[in-house]
């Protein structure tokens, strides 16, 4: 589904991505973990072209993104972004649109769907994330958890094949995390490919089929959650997971 080869990116001479390669298969759910500043968000943003990179390539289906942000990539970017949804850490709901308005904006103006059909589908999606009663609320009037669910519904409205989520649990209390896990588990059951950056190990364990550990711009470890999260090979992973301390304690 997604094939990333030798991705490199520098900010002010500092390598943020230092040759990252990864493959995400159809229907797979992958958790990206690692210490803060390890390049997780940057990597995720490269996957749908929100961030340009200096070297390497990202292939989504039949479309390949190369380094730089040349004009020639515009069409490729458009196709990739329609297939790859993104849920931001801060959600970024359109502040001037209602919950429903947020969900139907892209189907109507990118896909050219009729407003009535888009509205029907939008309502169904809001119902699915449990927000039917809030469809005419503006983002400023929604709680963080509600905004996140609208953001998910907005991404799903474009029928993406892949959903990228940047720290979806960071603003949620434990109960809400449970609800989110249920929601995403449902999407996984339908065959949606997902890549999520997370600090929440329970989230990774319950949802992910594979875990990638990013550190210093490289994938330092990967494997099934049980392996990586309980018996990591790499010292940095152990330190990051706090296993060294508990081992000592």
């Amino acid at each position: 589904m997604i094939d990333v080869k030798e991705l490199r990116k520098r900010y002010d001479g500092q390598a943020v991505l230092d040759g990252v390669s990864a493959t995400f298969a159809r229907g797979e759910v992958v958790a990206l973990v690692g210490p803060s500043g390890g390049g997780k968000s940057t990597f995720l943003r490269c996957l749908n072209g929100l961030e340009s990179f200096d070297a390497g390539s990202v292939r989504v289906g039949g479309d390949t993104l190369g380094p730089g942000c040349g004009r020639s990539q515009g069409a490729v970017l458009g196709r990739i972004r329609q297939r790859v949804g993104f849920v931001f850490q801060q959600w970024h709901l359109f502040a001037h649109r209602t919950a429903l308005g947020n969900v139907i904006e892209a189907p109507v103006f990118v896909r050219g769907l009729g407003v009535r059909e888009a509205t029907e589908r939008g309502r169904a999606l809001l119902a699915r994330v449990g927000l039917s009663h809030r469809e005419s609320a503006y983002p400023a009037a929604l709680s963080g958890g509600e905004q996140q669910r609208v953001a998910i519904a907005r991404a799903l409205a474009m029928d993406p094949e892949v959903l990228l989520l940047d720290e979806p649990t960071s603003a949620l209390d434990p109960e809400r995390v449970g609800e989110l896990v249920d929601l995403l588990a449902g999407l996984r059951a339908e065959g949606l490919t997902m890549v999520a950056v997370t600090h929440e190990m329970r989230f990774a364990r319950e949802l992910a089929s594979r875990v990638l550990v990013l550190h210093g711009g490289r994938v330092i470890e990967e494997g099934v959650p049980d392996e990586v999260l309980t018996r990591p090979n790499h010292a940095r992973t152990r330190a990051f997971l706090g296993l060294d301390r508990s081992a000592r304690g």
């Binding site: 929100l50 949804g85 931001f88 970024h92 359109f94 001037h96 103006f109 991404a155 474009m158």
Partner: protein
């Protein structure tokens, strides 16, 4: 009558009118009566006011003597001073404010192509005239429609406002257009923006008849230049009258005219001039009165102001949006071009831009005055709108654009559907502000002969010899236009805030 201006150096006049109102109000508080002649004799100087910014042959700067002036009126002032036993001293004063400055006491007399008109005669003491001029009608070479005064009915004719020619044109039903300079009416006539020009023969000879595509239709009336003295200083006027008569009789007056090539047979009448002639000339002190007719003219002028402002804003807003987007999202060249545009149009006076657009580019771009006003103000205000929108766009969090892009929206769509609507909210107060400023700045278009509200006010004020009522009416109409707009904008802001 009036004074040649060089277009490049003519400053904006709107604020000066406002100043004139103030000056008049102060002057009304107390007039020093008593004898002007004594004061002049005691000082040993006759201070005379004029505007050296004008050109040949009235008063102009002397290229051979820094700070000096020359012209036929300079020689006249010197001769008059000599007759009074004093010396003459020139006081530079903006031409359109000569009479308010005279009132205020900036100089003893105003001597600078002042035409004797009933309106002026009601405000100052005029001496006997020193020069008689012809009102010369000019038209384009190929235009046979213009044959005499009567043929001007319904035609566009340029002249100076508050002159006898102006009244004459209104009487024959012509569409009189007010000019303040002497080149511009002839340029407009050549360019086909006017059908005819009616101005003093001195001006016509120097600025109109030198143009090969124009012809003289004929002289359709005459006017007189006289010296203005402060009301209450009858003795000074009497002394000047006597001195003028002596100069005329001795032949010195016409000798001066000959030196400056403004002499003709008609000037013999200045030599034979009698007191009875002066009485007859000054007998007509009829004043226009503020009536419903004037009120209708004011409303029409307010309509012009509103029309020009709204259309200019309709040009400025979309162009401003494009400029802001070009600057923020365009490639290097486009972005720099946008920045250059903004700096160029913000950094130079809009008056200059109007002149360049209307007169400077007349050869390549034939715009009528109203279109030039709309385009000129629109292009200028676009620079301000661009900055307002740029600030608006920058106030929209970057995440909004990224969210739109991540849904597969192309940049343009994302800007149009997501960024700009939010930027507009931020920009709205600035846009309202600019629109209100534009309403008032639109008075600048009077320099390209559009009669809008401020121009109407100044014309009427001089006609009815009072600034108070026309000024108040003018202010009320501006407020009546800007206040509802401000209210509307506040309501819209509140609605967007809630939304």
């Amino acid at each position: 009558m009036e004074q040649p201006w060089s277009w490049a150096t003519r400053p904006p006049h709107t604020w000066r009118w406002a100043l004139a109102v103030l000056v008049l109000l102060c002057a009304a508080c107390g007039h020093e009566t008593g004898t002007g002649l004594e004061r002049v004799r005691r000082a040993g100087v006759l201070r005379w006011g004029g505007d050296a910014q004008g050109g040949e042959p009235y008063v102009m700067e002397d290229p051979e003597q820094v700070g000096g002036v020359r012209g036929f009126e300079v020689e006249l002032a010197d001769a008059l001073a000599r007759e009074l036993g004093v010396r003459a001293a020139f006081v530079q004063n903006d031409w359109s404010n000569l009479i308010p400055s005279l009132d205020r006491g900036s100089f003893d007399v105003a001597l600078n192509g002042l035409e004797v008109t009933p309106a002026r005669a009601g405000r100052v003491l005029f001496t006997r005239p020193y020069y008689v001029f012809q009102q010369r009608l000019m038209a384009r070479l190929g235009d046979a429609r213009i044959t005499d005064l009567a043929s001007l009915r319904g035609k566009r004719v340029g002249t100076l406002a508050n002159s006898q020619a102006w009244d004459l044109l209104l009487r024959v039903g012509a569409q009189a257009l007010p000019y303040e300079g002497v080149q511009e009416p002839y340029i407009d006539l050549e360019e086909g923006r006017l059908d005819a020009v009616l101005l003093d023969d001195i001006i016509a000879e120097r600025y109109g008849q030198t143009r090969p595509r124009l012809r003289v239709v004929g002289d359709v009336g005459e006017g007189h230049y006289a010296i203005a003295v402060r009301p209450g200083e009858e003795d000074l006027r009497a002394a000047l009258d006597a001195a003028l008569t002596r100069l005329a009789r001795s032949g010195e007056l016409r000798a001066i005219f000959q030196r400056w090539h403004v002499d003709d047979d008609a000037e013999q009448r200045m030599v034979d001039w009698t007191e009875a002639d002066t009485k007859a000339l000054l007998a007509d002190t009829s004043t226009a009165h503020l009536g419903w007719g004037q009120a209708v003219l004011f409303l029409q002028a307010a309509g012009v102001t509103l029309l020009v402002s709204v259309l200019a804003m309709a040009v400025a807003i979309p162009l401003g949006v494009l400029l802001a987007l070009a600057r923020l999202y365009g490639n290097g060249v486009v972005s720099r071009a946008s920045t250059l545009y903004v700096e160029l149009l913000r950094g130079t006076p809009v008056l200059l831009q109007l002149y360049v657009l209307y007169y400077g580019l007349a050869g390549v771009l034939r715009l009528d005055a109203l279109s030039a006003s709309v385009v000129g103000l629109g292009l200028n205000y676009a620079a301000y709108e661009a900055e307002v929108y740029r600030a608006g766009v920058q106030a929209v969090p970057r995440g909004q654009l990224e969210a739109a892009l991540s849904l597969g929206m192309p940049l343009r769509l994302a800007l149009r559907r997501v960024v700009m609507p939010q930027a507009f909210r931020v920009a709205l107060p600035g846009v309202t502000n600019d629109f209100i400023a534009l309403l008032k700045d639109s008075s600048l278009v009077s320099v390209i002969s559009v009669v809008e509200l401020t121009k109407r006010m100044t014309i009427t004020a001089v006609d009815v010899r009072s600034w108070l009522v026309p000024g108040a009416l003018c202010a009320a109409l501006y407020l009546a236009m800007s206040y509802p707009l401000a209210r509307l904008a506040r309501r819209l802001e509140a609605r967007l805030e809630r939304g």
